[in-house]
């Protein structure tokens, strides 16, 4: 197995692991979101809505970073093959 394939396989595994972790960590949120009026996000003057917005921004930045990281990895591989 050459290095490039190995990297790709690792990446796939890491992505799978990350997405499973993300889904599991978001699971408690999903049923909180489903409740009306007395739910957690509406408690404390809807403070947790702000927390959810900040979490969304953070997750967005992380996804963007992963996307940029993968583009850069592809380019590095191209440079390596070129040499």
């Amino acid at each position: 197995m050459d290095r490039k394939q190995f990297n790709g396989l690792n990446m796939l595994k890491a992505t799978k692991k990350a997405s499973t972790t993300l889904a599991l960590s978001l699971f408690p949120f999903s049923f909180l979101l489903a409740q009306e009026d007395t739910d957690f996000l509406r408690s404390m003057g809807k403070m947790y809505v702000v927390v959810a917005v900040l979490a969304a921004i953070f997750i967005g930045i992380v996804i963007y970073l992963v996307y940029l990281d993968r583009k850069l990895t592809k380019l590095e591989d191209q440079i390596k093959n070129h040499e």
Partner: protein, 349 residues
């Protein structure tokens, strides 16, 4: 230091996170029950306060039921239960000096410790029979004067919004930063068409990419905020729909770039497309939502936050937030640009 602006961006984000999250809200009235009152009744309201300190200087607490800008009923009895709850008794006259069967009242509480707080239009008084002359005779007008104002660094209290007013620093500046960055992007697209320097096209691409990213963050944060203030993540509101269309147009910019083999053709056509996309941005985001009814502040039938709700303390966080998100966006754009330059050099070799 060459990268001072990146450090500045990080510091500003840190500042808006700390000050934006830690500053308390002003005192407000969460609810008053019962909300339906009748004429000729000695009404006792149970009022729940938000961030209130009713027990502080409770003998100086005052309360009114305001009918309009000149007429009000004063509370005859004020029983403080605790810091967050107070019972108010109002003598409602047998007839009101208005010819409406149902009249809405605004509850106003003044406290030397917390300042004045209002529950706008939260209470209705039903008249069993209407007689405005008797109403005028029976009316004892209470004078509302010498209201207190709390001197503290606080954000405004607004019903329905409550603490989510802080999203003003995390949702709205995304769009402002997106606008600034997309404007920079279109400037480079125009410059490319003028000077045909391939690096201008790369700059336009990098900036537009970040602009689209900020727009997606804006629409996602907006949907979360909407769920807890408008009721649904997506209300098919004109503002939401038009921003989604604007983002799809910008998404098409990248689909277009991916569909050309010839780099020169790709750069030229995408520069022209970017100008059209940018030209559609202002009508989609600002003009069309202003023309029809929208739930969104600043759109049709709804004043912007800026004119009324964005007070001076909020501006101290909101304005740096625009600069902060823009700088972070420029940082990411710079990384995309450098990656694109490396790829270009690889292709040249």
């Amino acid at each position: 230091m060459k990268y001072w602006w990146k450090a500045l961006g990080v510091l500003i984000i840190l500042y808006i996170l700390l000050v934006g999250m830690l500053t308390p809200l002003k005192t407000g009235i969460l609810e008053a029950s019962p909300a339906n009152l009748h004429t000729g009744q000695e009404a006792t309201l149970t009022v729940k306060g938000y961030n209130s300190n009713f027990t502080l200087e409770k003998e100086k607490l005052r309360a009114w039921l305001k009918m309009d800008s000149t007429r009000a009923i004063a509370a005859t009895r004020i029983d403080v239960v605790d810091d967050r709850e107070v019972k108010l008794t109002f003598p409602i006259p047998a007839y009101l000096p208005v010819d409406q069967p149902v009249k809405d009242f605004t509850l106003l509480i003044d406290s030397p410790a917390d300042g004045a707080s209002v529950l706008p239009g939260g209470l209705v008084v039903t008249q069993d029979s209407i007689d405005t002359t008797k109403g005028d005779l029976l009316w004892v007008n209470a004078d509302i004067s010498q209201l207190h104002e709390k001197q503290a660094f606080t954000f405004p209290y607004r019903n329905i919004l409550y603490e989510t007013i802080r999203n003003t620093y995390y949702h709205v500046p995304m769009w402002m930063a997106m606008f600034i960055i997309l404007t920079a992007g279109v400037v480079f697209s125009i410059r490319f068409l003028w000077k045909a320097n391939p690096d201008d096209d790369r700059k336009a691409m990098a900036l537009t990419n970040v602009g689209l990213f900020l727009g997606i963050l804006g629409i996602v944060t907006g949907a979360i905020w909407a769920k807890y203030t408008w009721g649904k993540f997506w209300s098919w509101d004109v503002k939401q729909n038009m921003t989604a269309i604007a983002l799809l147009i910008y998404g098409a910019y990248f689909v277009l770039r991916g569909s050309f083999e010839d780099p020169e053709k790709k750069a030229r056509i995408s520069a022209v497309f970017n100008i059209f996309a940018y030209a559609s941005l202002v009508p989609l985001l600002y003009i069309i939502p202003k023309l029809t009814d929208s739930l969104h502040p600043g759109a049709g039938g709804n004043i912007a936050f800026g004119s009324q709700d964005l007070d001076n303390t909020m501006k101290l966080v909101f304005r740096p937030a625009i600069i902060g998100w823009t700088l972070i966006g420029l940082w990411i754009a710079e990384i995309i640009l450098r990656t694109a330059r490396l790829r270009e050099r690889l292709l040249e070799d």
